[in-house]
Amino acid sequence: MSLWLQPGAQAQWRRHYRHLRDRRGATPPTAVLLTLAWAVAWCFLPLESGRWQSLLSSHSGGFTHLQRRRPGIADPLRYGLQFLWLLLVRPRRSHAARASRRERFKPLARARGFLYPRANKVAQRVERHLRPALSTFEGDNPDGSAATRNTRWLLILMGGTTAILMLLVITQPFTLPAQALFSVLLWIIALIVRRLPGRFSTLILVVLSLTVSCRYLWWRYTSTLNWDDGLDMTFGLLLLGAETYSWLVLILGYFQTLWPLNRKPVSLPEDTREWPSVDLMIPTYNESLEVVRPTVLAALGLDWPKDKINIYLLDDGKRAAFRDFAADVGVGYITRDDNNHAKAGNLNHALTVTQGDYIAIFDCDHVPQRSFLQMTMGWFLKDPKLGLIQTPHHFFSPDPFERNLDRFRRMPNEGTLFYGLVQDGNDLWDAAFFCGSCAVLKRRAIEAIGGFAVETVTEDAHTSLRLHRKGFTSAYLRIPQAAGLATESVSAHIGQRIRWARGMVQIFRLDNPLFGPGLRLSQRLCYVNAMLHFLAGVPRLIFLTAPLAFLLLHAYIIYAPAFLLLAFVIPHMLHSGLTNSHIQGRYRHSFWSEVYDTVLAWYIALPTTVALINPRKGKFNVTAKGGLVDRQYFDWSISRPYLLLILLNLSGVVAAIWRLQSGPADEIPTVLVSLVWVFYNLVILGGAIAVAAEARQVRRNHRVSITLPGAVQLPGGYAYPCTLQDYAEGGLGIVLPAAGLVNVGDTLTLLLQRGHQEHAFAARVVNASGERAGLELEKMPLAKHVDYIQCTFARADTWSLWRDDLPADRPMKSMIDVVCLGFEGYRRLFQHAPRVVRAPVSWLGSFIPQRPHEAS
């Protein structure tokens, strides 16, 4: 080598080689090859010059990601690609620089500032004209007066005319331009109307949405089916069936949630002797004592005359520890010889050995607030026909969606829609139903229907259906009066939903609310919608695979030109999205239903279909609660069906690209529409996959976040006010007014208020940083423990504060959110993939050039 190389160059080569071997960990052959490649590059490029040096240096960022990895044989290619990329893109700007660029785009903001107020002004003007009419609609018109009877005839007449006009609008065939114009006009009306306050605007939006959606479905039925081709027709009918299902659920949903009742509590008589007696029942089967204890202790602290309340622990597990605990705290303990009919049987047995006028039921992990009975019982005294009052199920731990997607209390959770809106909407139609816990039932009513229903696995809904059939009414009070634990893992969540779905479909078959005596039409519709909701599995799977019928099998599932399809389907989607966002926005953000439904779709598809065919199959399975997901993992078994669907959709993408290349030109729009659909499916499936990556739970005792004033008394006699930030059964987190007031290991006295009473609890400091401190409670005697539960879990005001700070729905933002979630799902999938899959993909990925950050 020394023969044909200058000594200086030789030293350079050696240095480069040693750098690759020692510093960057290259293998000898790689190092030799790369050194050679570097030398070749040097022959053509002045790599020693200042400019090249600065470009290649790790500070500039242009090649940083390559300099960080272990050198590989293909590195020259990577450097080459990155070099070309650097020629094409501008470096990513820092945050500050981007902010200044946003300044430059001020004209856009100014235009918006110009347009929005004017649009608002128009809306306000319209509203001013409409206001007198609106208030007569919104006001409470007393029924039965002569004037109302006259207007009723007028309304029926108007309604009839409108229905005929509506029919005309729905069935009138339009050409493509006419349909497009029609859609745009309706959309403009919707955009203006949605800014009007009050329920009337909701009504208009619903009417617009109904018009557009009915028109779409009519068009689908009349002119998009190809009856000549068997394949086309089969897939076409399947899709049309799924769409009809969605349409039905949409319409019933509008009906159900149009006018939430927002019932208020009724006050009880002054004289507590008139208050009825209540049996509070806590059924349990296999839950641990740690889960049950706070519930029982909180029940002991309910504000109700002590001689009029009896608490019973109904233990189907027949455990000695539970019997001893019940005896210790002085509550009743009931067991039975068999375990027939699970929870319903347990309750029915308890009915035979108790006497109270009313029965309050709490799942063993739902901690009641002290005000529960005082808030709910008033309605029973006011309405003698009332058989049931239900309050929301509220959770102080994140459900698996919230935990795995890191969205706890950052948006409405999955249950919010049902307990915030649907039950409240049901209540208007006297169709609010029993949800198994946090409810009070009248004993006389339960006895009139022969006890809790045992025929299905959802005894709760079935029981209330029977109550309604017997002429009892139900009420829903949308004030959280208890809180519990959410299911702790996705698989447990899915298991619970399978049970609900199966049970609801069983009721649908065994005791169909559409038929049979005693129900009003509105009640029938509400119950049917609740049941139809759980049949969503099969239609969802059809939507997730429908475009593949065309892309893979070339079946014309929608036998219509692509542009005409767009002119019909886009308004249908936009209007239903906008209207639902208007009605449900506070309770569920747009597009999230898609993710929730998709996660469940596969799993409820089969059980519901089976239950639909043979409703007597299927047993009650207990929802596991209070567990701990102790490590981060990816639930492969849960996500397997979704991986299959993703693969199918990916093959659809490949097929679409092939069709674009080699298919006939007139099919291109159809292929593009299908492709968009496939991508949408992929995003939603990505979201479903993201849920399967189980995040780790740190603590066994779920901590409840709160802001509550308290105080501490320190060892030296000093006392300070503090703010309680979170609490659990065994410990609390506080914020003190200054740093360094407490040290780890100090014992102190924590003072908490409950009403006018102040309670002191001995605690030990287990961690302290700055103003924050974590406390662990010392062992407490029972009475103290009851006090503690009363000061924390069972406070009457805690839960009601929670929903205030949730951001409102913004459909576009929500869409971006869901799209990001989809990508996140694929990222997590990749992270947890086996090495065999991950290695080649990440090797391929290493060739992708990266956009550097701008040097500051």
Binding site: Q713, G716, Y718, A719
Partner: protein
């Protein structure tokens, strides 16, 4: 001028400390305050960083034929205080509320919004000291319980529990009992036992000025806020 009289139910309940703390809390809220010590032991001044050897006060001034407010001291712009001073013969008008109301009329109407009187611990012989608000400072202990039972309440008389320790069963029981017995007299919060309250006097300051973030100071701030809200309503 709103006259607030603070008096211990018996000796040693910490009434003077509360007067000093309350004065500071009101000043912090932007009010102009005058504190007058009506206790011959003449201790209130020590909360205001006053020299303990200085025995001038309104009693000497009255004895010597000067005007009663000649011996007032200023602590900042908003807080003035008037020590009792020293007098061989106890001034008879010391504990006469009407007499003091006459005296206050000599002042400009808006010199002070609040006048706080630090009264000596109650005794049976003593007449009712008329003021706009009278606070009786009590400990949740049996002695105060007996004294309260024999007490005649007047309009605008309120009870304030000081040095409260919630971990004491006895104190909690008495407090709960009083909540029922004196529901319209007992103020709905307490001032907790807090070492900072005693340290404050050792530093010759009011607790509000000494450690504004401690629990006792918070209780006193509550008192100030209650007084302010009460007289906001009245106005």
């Amino acid at each position: 001028m709103i006259r607030v009289a603070v008096q211990g139910c018996r000796g040693g309940t910490g009434a003077s400390s509360i007067v000093a703390g309350l004065a500071q809390a009101l000043v912090n809220a932007g009010e102009r305050v005058l504190c007058i010590d009506l206790d011959a032991r003449n201790l209130l001044r020590l909360h205001f960083n006053h020299d303990w050897r200085d025995e001038h006060g309104w009693a000497n001034a009255v004895d010597n034929g000067q005007t009663w407010h000649a011996a007032a001291f200023a602590l900042g712009t908003h807080l003035h205080f008037l020590p009792y001073g020293h007098s061989e013969v106890a001034p008879v008008e010391a504990l006469n509320g009407d007499e003091w109301q006459q005296r206050l009329k000599e002042l400009d109407k808006d010199t002070y919004r609040w006048v706080l009187f630090d009264l000596p611990a109650a005794s049976f012989a003593q007449d009712h000291f008329s003021a706009d608000v009278t606070l009786t400072v009590v400990h949740a202990d049996p002695a105060c319980h007996v004294l309260l039972a024999r007490r005649q309440f007047h309009e605008n008389d309120y009870l304030l529990v000081n040095h409260f320790t919630p971990s004491s069963l006895l104190q909690n029981d008495l407090y709960t009992l009083w909540q029922a017995q004196y529901s319209d007299r007992l103020l709905p919060w307490t001032i907790h036992r807090d070492e900072a309250m005693f340290e404050a006097l050792a530093h010759k300051r009011s607790v509000t000025a000494y450690r504004s973030d401690c629990l006792a100071a918070q209780g006193i701030r509550n008192l100030a806020a209650w007084l302010l809200a009460r007289h906001e309503e009245a106005a």
